[in-house]
Symmetry: C2
Subunit: 365 residues, 2 copies
């Protein structure tokens, strides 16, 4: 009899396995349907020996010292401040939009104060703001909205910004200074030897047993356990009985080139050209030196592995119904990005799992 | 209920999991006490991104076309003919001993016929041959025995050749031609993307569930199954009730150097100097290009992971007793290097597993 069956070996599942094993001294069976740990943060050396992220670029950033300290037990870090450029009108300009972006794009020589005035001049007054189109128009107006947001969002979600909650585009800052880092968090780092190595260390404990290539359904009647922690899609647990929760997925097309570098930064976005949204060059992210380089073209898709909950009210409503069902079942908890149907950055997934451990699991007999 | 529980995810375990899953369409739970598959053939990219063999150099070689064809389903190959040199009297000379070895060591300019005469002149006549010292003395005499065999064997086994079955040193050829390859098999290849990748492909089947960091004892009462295939040490299954079967172990000390290469060949042996027996430089084996290089010093030890059954009659006798016990138990088979307490090269382990599948498992209901 295992004390805990944890379904899913991504951030939520691995953090909880580690906490339960090392702090509660309980036995854990950690399972995953895939053949590897790490969830979508899984990285590996490809056939040319280049470290790549199988499910797209994962750049760690957090303001949460507790999360940073917790993960620091399992990895050393490499300082890495992500810069992203967008290919717009034949220019590669830094994003999120900042002072340099506007000056480069229009050939201005604005200072910060002038940029504030410029934004005021082009912004539309909209009240109340009800969707992602309106929030961007209200900040930077029609032209920048079109160049940077409108078509990118359509590619990313197959929805126009007007069809998406305001929160989606609200997450993207508009800066008036020259900070051209993609994130502004206090800790901007990459696990020095990769995410998979970090996860391996995290779950390397005699109380943790790892089972791969194994769906929950394949073993739930076979292997006895006291409690379940389910980090997979909550609707899958209920066999989709109330309907399917939609997820946006991604497809990656990898290419290894016989040249040292392909582009100047880790990620270049293509806001309105091409079918892909961006190109990642992994060596910028990992710091690896190699005579070749691997890049990945990123194509948003409707089908495939679940990546992003689709931020629309109808989906939140359906999720709430599943959550009500879940509360009726004893000895099971749903957690993580898929288990709680919400977009969580990596650090948020860790924080959610640590909180859940402290507030709930520690009180379980 | 799993049809088969396979204990150990090395060559024997993975081959059988694959055969059972794909040919018998039965379900398999494949478990391993370690956190990875591949047994002692496991390779991985280390912290500097260099592909290394965690448990020492594994070079694939076989004359068995069936084994080669079988494994070719799961990997492409890189042709690699291992050359080994030995550091003797300040020279790096090729081994196994051949025409070049003797000419370089003594400054001779022998042809093949002259070398045959030379060996005849130095060889000792011994009959009957009862141990490893006698078989070498009978081929090349005292001086070459001392330089190449005597102290190397002592380091390797902590036994003098006189204490070891003749079969141990008999395996090492003495050549009179100029073939300086370490092996003479028809197929001398390395899995192009490493052993671990090959194993991953092999067991990537929906009927196979993989459980890591899990000893047999931890789950044998918990998880139901019909049959067991046990590839771990046979004495461990019986809780050592008749005594412990001894194994020789190895310890590896890895170093990554900031230079492109360290030595000219994949392996250099040190027959009588130092405490290590040999130094492996992995880039020669894998063909990887990298600005740095990782080498491993190999130290034989008495304690540690089981590597080699110790080839002495008393150990075979003890193994026979365990085998008799094993035959009394229904629905379990012991197989592989550890399960049958015999030194098997990788190809021999595969052949043993394929034979076992054809002759025994296919007849099981």
């Amino acid at each position: 009899m295992f004390d805990f069956l944890i379904v899913g070996a991504g951030f939520a599942g691995c953090v909880l396995a580690e906490r339960i094993a090392s702090k509660l001294n309980k036995s854990v069976l950690l399972i995953d349907g895939r053949g590897h740990i790490g969830g979508n943060a899984y990285d590996y050396y490809n056939e040319d020996g280049i470290l790549v992220h199988k499910y797209g670029p994962h750049i760690f950033h957090t303001d949460n010292k507790r999360v940073f300290d917790y993960l620091s037990q399992f990895t050393k870090w490499r300082i890495f401040e992500l810069r992203v450029t967008a290919s717009v009108d034949g220019h590669k300009v830094p994003i999120p939009i900042n002072l340099d972006t506007i000056n480069e794009l229009y050939g201005f020589n604005f200072n910060e104060k002038q940029l504030v005035e410029f934004f005021k001049g082009v912004a539309k007054e909209i009240s109340p703001i009800t969707n992602s189109e309106e929030i961007i128009l209200s900040k930077v107006g029609e032209e920048l909205y079109s160049k940077f947001f409108k078509y990118y969002t359509k590619k990313q979600w197959d929805l126009w910004p007007s069809e998406l909650d305001a929160s989606v585009c609200a997450r993207i800052p508009i800066r008036t200074n020259r900070d051209n880092r993609y994130f502004s968090d206090k800790y901007q780092v990459m696990p020095k030897h990769g995410y998979t190595e970090m996860f391996k260390k995290m779950i390397n404990h005699p109380n943790i047993h790892l089972m791969l290539q194994t769906d929950f359904l394949a073993i739930k009647e076979i292997i006895p356990y006291k409690y379940i922690i389910y980090t997979g899609p909550i609707d899958s647990f209920f066999n989709y009985k109330l309907g399917k929760l939609p997820y946006r997925s991604l497809r990656f097309s990898f290419q290894t080139l016989d040249q040292e570098y392909f582009q100047d930064t880790g990620i270049v976005n293509y806001p309105y050209e091409y079918d892909f949204t961006r190109i990642t060059e992994f060596k910028h992210l990992t710091g690896q030196k190699h005579t070749k380089t691997t890049i990945a073209f990123e194509y948003p898709t409707a089908q495939g592995e679940p990546y992003y909950p689709i931020p629309q009210a109808s989906n939140w409503n359906l999720y709430q119904k599943y959550q009500t069902e879940a509360e009726k079942i004893k000895n099971i908890w749903f957690i993580g990005r898929l288990g709680t149907y919400q977009y969580l950055n990596m650090d948020q997934a860790v924080a959610q799992a640590l909180d859940f451990f402290e507030n709930t699991l520690k009180k379980v007999k």
